[in-house]
Assembly symmetry: C2
Homo-oligomer: 208 residues x 2
């Protein structure tokens, strides 16, 4: 699709963007490739834009838009504990961040997306391990079978939401853990949409 030279130009723009944080100007591209004129650069930019590998804002400086930029990155906060529901999402409770493209997370526009670090093995039969980062979406319309984060006795727990004859309860995916039947209210904080596991390297692992 692209000429060898066109690929070079595009990859230079992307590399610069990554390293410097800013797309290069036509003159910078010119200098890097040893062109005697900017027009050469302009021709390449035209070609790249025509072929859809580049976006441009006319008459603006350094206004190239590379495919890398087009990827929608969602910056998801990881909460250690959510005490009082989604209303009190303070920076205080943030343990860290995960950033990933919104296409791999099924992130919808309306609901807020957040993450929890899993503690314990209560969901091990759903193949969710201690230390996993579970990404959830702030939705109230959980369906039976969904894995949800819910507020029980002031603690946030990750369980499978099951509707049994019109009565919902929280099912632990581990026979060693009890299911939770809510006394009155079941407060769902989010529905699991994705999971990220950081594989520990051999050195940091306890057992093989």
């Amino acid at each position: 699709m692209l000429t060898g030279r066109q690929k070079d130009i595009l990859s230079f723009i992307q590399t610069e963007q990554r390293d410097k944080g800013v797309t290069p100007s036509t003159r910078e591209i010119q200098r890097h490739f040893g062109f005697a004129s900017q027009t050469s650069v302009m021709q390449y930019l035209d070609a790249l834009e025509r072929k859809g590998f580049l976006g441009r804002h006319a008459r603006k400086a350094r206004a190239l838009i590379t495919p890398v930029q087009k990827i929608r990155i969602t910056d998801i906060p990881i909460y250690g504990q959510i005490p009082a529901g989604m209303s009190a999402l303070t920076e205080q409770d943030v343990e860290g961040h995960v950033s990933l493209d919104s296409s791999t997370v099924n992130a919808s526009k309306n609901g807020r997306t957040f993450a929890l670090r899993v503690r314990g093995d209560s969901m091990i039969e759903a193949h969710i391990l201690d230390g996993d980062i579970v990404i959830l979406e702030d939705r109230k319309d959980a369906q039976s079978g969904d894995i949800v984060a819910a507020l029980i006795d002031g603690e946030t727990t990750l369980k499978r939401y099951v509707m049994d004859h019109g009565r919902p309860y929280l099912k632990a995916e581990n026979p060693l853990f009890p299911n939770l039947i809510p006394a009155r209210e079941l407060r769902i904080q989010g529905v699991m949409v994705s999971l990220v596991r950081k594989q520990l390297s051999r050195a940091r692992r306890k057992r093989g």
Copy 2:
């Protein structure tokens, strides 16, 4: 840490960056906030830079660097099949991409990072499911216990690499699958460093 107004400016810059793909110029910021002078903007930029919320390239146009940009995003190609080892990584075999910040992947500088979509349940006891995206690093120094992608009979498989009395073999984490003892050569293509699971929504799921 930041003044209310300073936060406004910063958030405007970030929003613009996201929507347009380019950081706004001082004049654009000026216009948006209704300042009669650019100097106001300059003062805010100075403050934001001083407090570490912004990076700047002196004397360059639209050369603001927001915290969002500073996150190192790794764009990882997902391969359906790796036929002949890491040398022949053509765009042909790319099934898609995952983008996530290099801090959650244990991405080292030297090795190339790539991903595979898992097929089958042979690693289910290592809690890796059919459809999961496994992120690997192109390393040759696999240690016993590491989960690796290896080339067996022209097919790439994901197995646990086990060294047994100086003899390596590939262990399936599912009693229904056989372990693979290499006839002569064991070609390791990568070592698993991370995992991403896209939770299917209720509608697209076959069984609860």
